[in-house]
């Protein structure tokens, strides 16, 4: 077995199927994970009932490196900062996108745009960490990222597929933001698919026949049941559940095989890696994965911003539009939230390399799917895009809005030891006017 390629529990450390199993067992037995305190969700049983009721899930299109708001959702044509692209009308009167987004422009009535993000952190690592958590980590506590929270809150306890999958095929910025379940524990860590779209080591070893594999499982079940008889504890249940999950993961191998999709659907998403991974995200959502991050790196266009965006935005436009249509046609759009943003936007000023630099003071995010008011544009920037002039939104408000849209109460609290940890910082509220 190639030990360098496994399922990952964190972005920094790969976790093999075997390690995954041991960590799952550890979670069930109440061992300390992530921080020095055990986690006690306030109302886990009722939550599980609620999540089964909602059945919602999230696809995050992570625009790593920072896509330009001016070349996507908030164009400023004709202004000194506007760059060379024209704007085009969308299906919502009065709302314009960059001319690079004709497909999403036709679908604006089905989506939501926030143009007034002021997140204040123009660093790749620190910005990503904040946007993925809705706040900055503290010295004393590391917060779980969005995917981990969604996997915990919306994932089915009996699910045989992973709750949280992250694609990040490019290497630049892969470590930014450090995906982590933190105190939620490794059970909610992402399965990181970095070096391909198929998890390594998922397949049964060739030396073990399918029959032998099944026999071994039956024997383990038998022995476990015998051992557990009269020992009805959480640890016993967790032990069996963890093995069931591993078997579930192994049996979900076809989920990662995009060739299982008809060719015409694969063609529809286009030949790009981003498109193919977006299709895989749809397959996973369909199969019950709660949160999938599809990363598209690298937008950090300090040089030749306009040519970079001329290359990358049409791909984003095509993939987003195809994903929207596909989810809709499969009846998944009412239960799936798709969000697109990165760690920041880009400067209105154009540098001497015809580039735009990091900018977190007035930028945009886009969303569509469940729980949102479709056709809404929230917030406004000034004529040159330098400042937010209406309805400023911080990372926390965006985070809270995403949670609320998928039916998670942002004010819910976890406890790490005796310390209550709300999902968002105190005082942070979702943008009510954007919620359906």
């Amino acid at each position: 077995m190639n030990q360098s390629q496994h399922f990952c529990g964190t972005s920094a450390h790969d976790i093999s199927r075997r390690v995954f199993l041991s960590q799952s067992l550890a979670v069930g037995s109440g061992a300390l994970l992530g921080t020095s305190g055990a986690v006690h969700a306030l109302d886990e049983d009722s939550l599980n009932a609620a999540l089964q009721k909602t059945g919602r899930n999230v696809i995050l299109l992570w625009l790593a490196g920072g896509a330009s708001q001016l070349e996507t959702w908030d164009p400023k044509p004709g202004r000194p900062t506007g760059g060379p692209f024209a704007s085009i009308p969308t299906s919502v009167p009065g709302v314009h996108f960059s001319e690079l987004m004709p497909k999403m422009a036709k679908r604006m009535h089905r989506m939501t745009v926030i143009r007034s993000l002021n997140t204040g952190d123009g660093g790749h690592g620190t910005g990503a960490e904040m946007m993925l958590r809705g706040r900055k980590n503290e010295a004393a506590i590391q917060y779980p990222d969005l995917g981990a929270i969604v996997a915990k809150e919306l994932g089915r306890a009996d699910s045989k597929v992973p709750g949280y999958v992250s694609f990040y095929s490019q290497t630049e910025g892969r470590g930014s933001g450090k995906l982590s379940p933190a105190f939620l524990g490794a059970r909610y860590a992402p399965m990181n698919l970095d070096d391909g779209s198929m998890p390594p080591n998922l397949s049964r070893l060739e030396a073990i026949s399918d029959l032998s594999h099944q026999d071994r499982a039956r024997l383990r079940d038998l022995l476990s049941a015998r051992f557990a008889s009269g020992r009805e504890t959480e640890t016993m249940r967790s032990h069996s559940a963890a093995y069931a999950r591993v078997h579930g993961l192994m049996s979900s191998e076809p989920l990662f095989d995009i060739e299982k999709e008809p060719k015409w659907i694969r063609d529809r998403y286009g030949p790009s890696l981003f498109g193919q991974q977006a299709l895989m995200a749809r397959r996973m959502i369909e199969a019950g994965v709660s949160f999938v991050r599809v990363s598209r790196a690298w937008w950090d266009s300090h040089g030749q911003n306009f040519e970079t965006h001329a290359e990358m935005v049409p791909e984003l436009d095509h993939v987003m539009a195809t994903l929207m249509d596909d989810l809709d046609q499969r009846g998944l759009l009412d239960s799936t939230l798709v969000v697109a943003f990165g760690e920041f936007g880009r400067t209105p000023g154009v540098n001497a390399s015809l580039g735009r630099d990091h900018f977190a003071n007035a930028w945009s995010a886009a969303m569509f799917g469940c729980g949102l008011q479709a056709g809404a544009v929230y917030g406004k920037t000034d004529d040159d895009g330098n400042t937010v002039t209406e309805d400023e939104v911080g990372a926390g408000e965006l985070f809270a809005t995403i949670l609320a849209a998928i039916g998670i109460n942002p004010n819910k609290e976890y406890h790490v030891g005796a310390r209550p940890i709300p999902l968002v910082n105190p005082g942070i509220k979702p943008i009510r006017s954007l919620l359906a």
Binding site: T171, E172, P271, H302, E311, N351, S353
Partner: protein
């Protein structure tokens, strides 16, 4: 600017601006120049003035604000100026009145990158990111021909870009070059492709770290005898967030379709945006930049760099004057007159 060996380039006059100037044209035997701006305007300036103040061309027909004016060419005995811009329009201007008189609204389907006039002034050639080179009657603005041969997409299925073109000195040949480094030589009379050249060394596709591309052939020039074609761009870039590689120029014997030499700058980073030979073939001048600007002089015989120095800004275009040792350069936030000495 600095000095190398016996060469020196010195700044004679500089006009600072807030916009970016992408293109230049000049009426021969005069100090009158025209500049294409990032604000979508064509300006004219009298460089003989102590403090030249560019004034805008006007008219009911104009480029879209923000449509970078990337191509300018004089036509019809210098009575007409043809501008091409990212707004896809070609506009004919009366150089005496400064008024627009004719336009082709959708001259191309994508950004127009370059506009040049044939040596006899009869034809205008325009290239754009729709990957088509179009020939126009310089006087009437009527379409004459379209040359298709560049691939619409890069090998990685992303939109390609057709950056530049140049006529041979006798006007019988036209060279066009794209983002992937593919160069085509066309026979102007028959509109046929007669040769292709490879400068893919100037195209960087990063498949792993950042998964997009940068670079391409940004400038072309035929030698005064028409036998050599030079292509300017940038070398392979490690970190494509920036134009972080040395400027690069490749010499071709285009008739044999072979590379004669490749020259890589040692101190100058960024794109070679413009190339021009001294009319007598004494030197080849290349200018461009990244966050800063540069000028490079090359001995066409030895194909060695004889001068390399910083320019006051990233240069997007330059023109030799009637005295070829003096050139006018336009670029990021400025216009400058430079003099080459020691030649």
């Amino acid at each position: 600017m600095s000095t190398t060996a016996n060469f020196q380039i010195a700044e004679e006059k500089k006009i600072s601006r807030k916009d970016i100037l992408f293109s230049l044209a000049r009426v021969p035997e005069s100090d009158r120049v025209f500049c294409g701006s990032s604000d979508g305007t064509v300006y004219q300036a009298d460089l003989a003035a102590e403090k030249p103040e560019p004034t805008a061309f006007e008219g009911e027909i104009r480029h879209r604000p923000g449509g970078y004016v990337t191509g300018l060419a004089l036509a019809a005995g210098n009575r007409r100026l043809v501008s091409g811009a990212y707004d896809r329009q070609l506009i004919w201007w009366d150089t005496e009145t400064g008024k627009s008189i004719h336009r082709v609204e959708n001259a191309h389907a994508k950004w127009i990158r370059k506009v040049v006039a044939s040596p006899d002034g009869q034809l205008i050639a325009s290239v754009a990111d729709d990957m088509v080179c179009r020939l126009w009657n310089a006087g009437s603005g009527e379409p004459v021909a379209e040359l298709r041969g560049h691939r619409i997409e890069t090998p990685q299925y992303y939109p390609s870009m057709l950056f530049t073109c140049a006529f041979s000195p006798d006007g019988s040949r036209l060279a066009t070059a794209d983002k992937t480094g593919h160069i085509i030589i066309w026979d102007v009379a028959s509109r046929k492709e007669i040769s292709t050249l490879d400068a893919s060394c100037m195209y960087t596709w990063d498949p792993k770290q950042r998964r997009h591309s940068i670079g391409g052939v940004r400038s072309l020039a035929f030698s005064p005898d028409g036998r050599t074609l030079v292509a300017g761009g940038i070398g392979q870039i490690g970190n494509i967030d920036h134009l972080g590689a040395n400027a690069r120029i490749r010499f071709f014997d285009w008739e044999k379709a072979v590379t004669i030499a490749e020259v890589e700058a040692s101190e100058s980073k960024g794109l070679v945006e413009r190339l021009a030979f001294h009319p007598g073939g004494n030197w080849l001048l290349g200018c461009g930049g990244d966050n800063g600007g540069f000028a490079i002089l090359i001995d066409p015989t030895t194909r060695k760099i004889v001068f390399e120095g910083k320019a006051p800004f990233h240069i997007h275009d330059f023109l030799l004057t009637d005295s070829p040792e003096r050139f006018i350069a336009a670029g990021h936030n400025g216009l400058v007159v430079q003099k080459i000495s020691g030649v």
